[in-house]
């Protein structure tokens, strides 16, 4: 699964425009300010290129505009606010766990393994919730779909930034768009 060329081109265009807008090529910036601006531009470019369809993209865009208001808060991975749904989700998970433990152990081992696998999956999904923007408000199925989309998009972002870096470093062959 790969991000499309169209998608990467959109990221690149947004990135260049965003970098221009933030004046990163000017001399009067501290290193931290400049890096923050570049990172911000990269994430904004990604979210804008992906659009409002996935939840992670909307959450990321919202987070970035909040960050901007807060005056260059260093960009970290999704640090979402506590949402009421998270509490309900945890309750549901612990309620399910209790009912799982209540099952008699005389059932076939295969079934028990199934159950354990489900529990492990739930544990790992919790980690994903903190990593994927907006992950805490989602049900498991949506979260996995969003994770898939998010991972593909992140890879496209990385590829695009590498391309830009190469282009800016190559004085003889500017903007070699070989892809």
């Amino acid at each position: 699964m790969q991000g499309s060329k169209q998608f990467k081109r959109a990221i690149l265009k947004n990135l260049v425009l965003g970098l221009r807008k933030r004046g990163v090529a000017s001399r009067d910036m501290s290193f931290h300010e400049r890096k923050s601006a570049v990172r911000h531009a990269a994430d904004a470019a990604l979210a804008a290129a992906r659009g409002t369809a996935p939840c992670w993209s909307r959450s990321l865009a919202a987070e970035l505009s909040r960050g901007q208001d807060a005056q260059l808060r260093p960009a970290t991975s999704a640090s979402e606010e506590y949402t009421p749904r998270k509490m309900t989700m945890c309750k549901r998970i612990s309620r399910r766990r209790r009912s799982i433990r209540a099952r008699p152990k005389s059932k076939a081992t295969a079934k028990a393994a199934d159950v354990l696998a489900r529990v492990m999956v739930r544990r790992r999904t919790r980690a994903l919730r903190d990593i994927v923007p907006g992950g805490r408000g989602m049900d498991e199925c949506t979260l996995l779909g969003e994770t898939l989309d998010y991972a593909v998009s992140l890879k496209a972002q990385v590829d695009t930034m590498q391309l830009l870096l190469r282009a800016l470093q190559a004085p003889k062959n500017p903007m070699l768009m070989q892809q």
């Binding site: 999956v121 590498q162 800016l168």
Partner: protein, 93 residues
Amino acid sequence: MSSRRPRSRASGGASRISDEQISDLVAKLQALLPEARLRSSDRVPSARVLQETCSYIRSLHREVDDLSDRLSELLSTSDVSTAQAAIIRSLLM
């Protein structure tokens, strides 16, 4: 979307559908991961795939961070060739 119908806990039928969707998504995540051994084997447990996915996304975050570093270093250095400076100016100013 999710099959969070109130009847699903009692019947178990609806939760089976959701398990299928989840296995399908996990399979797709597995196909995405860069590690060849995880991709080739088709009996990798879902929890493992999710764990690797977490690591993968975290490493992508670090890469974006590193690339932001390098981009901003490139833009802040005055030690660039005139040709390079011209490119940077034409593209980013």
